[in-house]
Amino acid sequence: MREHAFDRRGWLRATIGVIATAIASVLGLVVGGAVVSPGLAGRREAWRPAGRLSDIAPGVPTPITIRVTRQDGYYEAVDQQVVFLVKSQSGGVRALSSTCTHLGCHVSYDADKKVIKCPCHGGTFSPDGRNIAGPPPRPLAELSARVEDGRVFVQL
């Protein structure tokens, strides 16, 4: 008799446990999906106009401000991003990110010393983006760039 009572209570407990787990799983899936999904969305890059090649002096990193519109959830954010365009003697162009590879500060070009410097911790880069002094562990990131009818486009 006792054993029978125990079995019945065990079944009831199991039923409650199974249903509660099922409801929590469905609710957890919906809530979890909504919480996690924006973090999984990749960033869309596009070719953006970055001025005319003829305006850039060869070998000198030229800062160009590019207006980047980006979908940020429910609104379209507009960022002003600075890239350094470096024209080679052969007429090709490279685009360097202006974000220091140490801790993410914005670097600027020192025309007197002919180096790109980071104001935060003194990181120094050569005009072609190599890390030459201070804490930066890597060269400045290089962005894809192309020239079309004398106009420079950078992928951001």
Binding site: I23, P38, G73
Partner: protein
């Protein structure tokens, strides 16, 4: 000798005594004649938990400011994984709570469970019902669509009709002289902070009092042995909760929580309607016009609530069988029938939902203006301005109108300086288009000749004339322009070219020279078909 390691649960119990607490919670002796009707309270607690969980997730994305509220709700619905279901669970969950709160209340009424010593339990229950309705009311405004905005206008006007303090109450609800940013943020704060805190306090009190006095049980108790709440009765609760959750989830999956066009305070043609559980009150107001309105709006609802709240004091006899309490049973039945009838009448009179897919001529004209070189020089993928075709313009109408009037002023530094050269009516058409795109309404596929007419109508005629509910009121409504005898295409050509030539008293300006022959003929033929 090595000490035997104790389990984490034992360790925790030794320090907190949680097992004894759980036993106290779960081993409550329940009368043997407690049946399935007694699961409604547990269902309500479950539904409240669902609202808390889904509501907390929605607050991660919702922004309570007029420029972003609507877009953030649209983003939740379309931009998140399971976002539509999440919002659906919260939206339909509110209705489920109202339904089960009323069923719970009716069960307590008919079982006479509000009688001594449970009077205060009953009163806290009535407060909980009011809190649930307040949640519905404050949550209704948050999507900031037409339905939300205009229903809130009506709600605040109802509050305004309160004698003596009406104006003061309305100002308090609005946070200022008009419904706007301050209204939205205070309703949001009430919805997500003040009401939840009050709800938790009253639910805890309600459950504490229920435990203190025990479950009332059946009104004709049978001498059956009691059994512990867990698992014997808990399994009944769980099964009903599973069925309710399945129904709620099905609603959220199958049906969309509504989101109409963005709130437009100037769109006075919109016919407001409340959420279904306020339809009875909405309908009641129709029978109390003018000065009598406060009776329907404030008097009768307050009286019903006060009667409900004080019911245990009016009905102090210990008898609980509803057949032995004919007066109370009759009054309750009467109120239920009255509220149900009013709600049904309200449903019957509810205007049809606006068809978001339908594009008015103004929006179609706006689409063509936006696609023109005037706009696309800057507004294109990779251009200086955002791509308008992607439709993420988070600016209000006034900003867009200002930008169209003087782009340099509102977005300085643009070179070459755009010269939009749009008329006021054309600028309004662009605004209509941006609003349409913001609603994510797919652009309609219409024949080129009709599009030509829409372009002309939306950019010129709409300033004075209405077509299909959209447009100015200065001139006649052209929805059925061809109904008048003699109004054929040739007549329309003559009239539009030179109205004074047809009727010397005509006030309409002549459009000869302002429209090409192709445009003029297309408009005339189109209007001649509008019977």
């Amino acid at each position: 000798m090595m000490k035997r390691p104790i389990s984490l649960a034992d360790w925790l119990d030794a320090r907190t005594g949680y097992r004894a607490g759980l036993r106290h919670l779960l081993d409550e002796p329940i009368p043997g004649d407690v049946n399935w009707w007694f699961t409604l309270g547990s269902v309500l607690v479950f539904l409240i938990v669902v609202q808390f969980v889904t509501g907390a997730t929605l607050t991660m994305y919702y922004v309570p400011t007029p420029p972003y509220a609507y877009d953030s709700v649209r983003f939740i619905t379309t931009g998140l994984a399971f976002g539509r279901v999440l919002r659906g669970l919260h939206f339909f969950g509110a209705s489920f709570i109202v339904v089960f709160a009323v069923l719970h209340l009716l069960r307590v009424l008919f079982f006479g469970a509000y009688k001594t010593p449970r009077e205060v339990t009953w009163m806290t229950g009535i407060v909980l019902l009011l809190l649930v309705l307040a949640f519905g009311l404050t949550g209704y405004l948050l999507p900031w669509d037409q339905r939300a905005y205009w229903a809130t206008v009506v709600t605040i006007n109802i509050a305004r009709s309160t004698p003596l303090v009406g104006e003061w109450v309305a100002n308090l609800m609005r946070g200022g002289p008009v419904i706007g940013a301050l209204t939205l943020s205070r309703w949001y704060a009430t919805h997500v902070i003040l009401l939840p805190v009050a709800l938790v306090i009253f639910v805890v009190t309600h459950v504490y009092l229920m435990r203190r006095h025990g479950i009332a049980g059946h009104f004709n108790p049978r001498p059956l042995p009691t059994s512990p709440f867990y698992p014997v009765h808990a399994v009944k609760d769980t099964i009903v909760i599973a069925a309710v959750f399945a129904a709620l989830f099905t609603c959220a999956m199958v049906s969309k929580a509504p989101l109409e066009a963005m709130a437009d305070p100037s769109g006075a043609a919109y016919i407001p309607r409340p959420e279904w559980y306020f339809l009875g009150l909405f309908q009641l107001l129709k029978y109390f016009p003018g000065k009598l309105e406060p009776i329907g709006a404030i008097g009768i609802p307050t009286l019903i609530i006060a009667l409900l709240f004080l019911l245990p004091l009016f009905d102090p006899e210990p008898e609980r069988d509803p057949r032995a309490r004919p007066r109370v049973s009759a009054i309750v039945t009467l109120v239920v029938v009255a509220v149900s009838t009013l709600t049904w009448l309200g449903f019957r009179d509810t205007p049809k939902e606006q068809n978001l897919e339908a594009w008015e001529p103004r929006a179609i004209a706006g689409q063509d203006l936006v696609s023109s070189d005037k706009c696309t020089r800057c507004h294109a993928a990779g251009g200086a301005g955002p791509d308008l075709a992607r439709g993420r313009i988070n600016r209000d109408d006034q900003w867009i109108l200002g930008h169209l009037a003087d782009p340099d002023m509102i977005a300085p530094g643009l070179r070459p300086l755009p010269a939009t050269g749009l008329s006021g009516t054309e600028a309004r058409a662009v605004v209509a288009y941006v609003r349409k795109i913001r609603e994510a309404a797919p652009p309609p596929r219409i024949a080129p000749d009709v599009r030509l007419v829409m372009d002309v109508f939306g950019a010129k005629c709409v300033a004075c004339h209405t077509l299909d509910g959209d447009g100015g009121k200065e001139g006649p409504d052209l929805t059925h322009a061809a109904r008048k005898p003699g109004h054929d295409a040739a007549w329309f050509v003559r009239w539009i070219s030179d109205p004074a030539g047809v009727d010397p008293n005509a006030e309409m300006p002549a459009f000869a020279g302002k429209l090409s022959d192709v445009q003029l003929n297309a408009v005339a033929q189109y209007l001649a078909r509008r019977h």
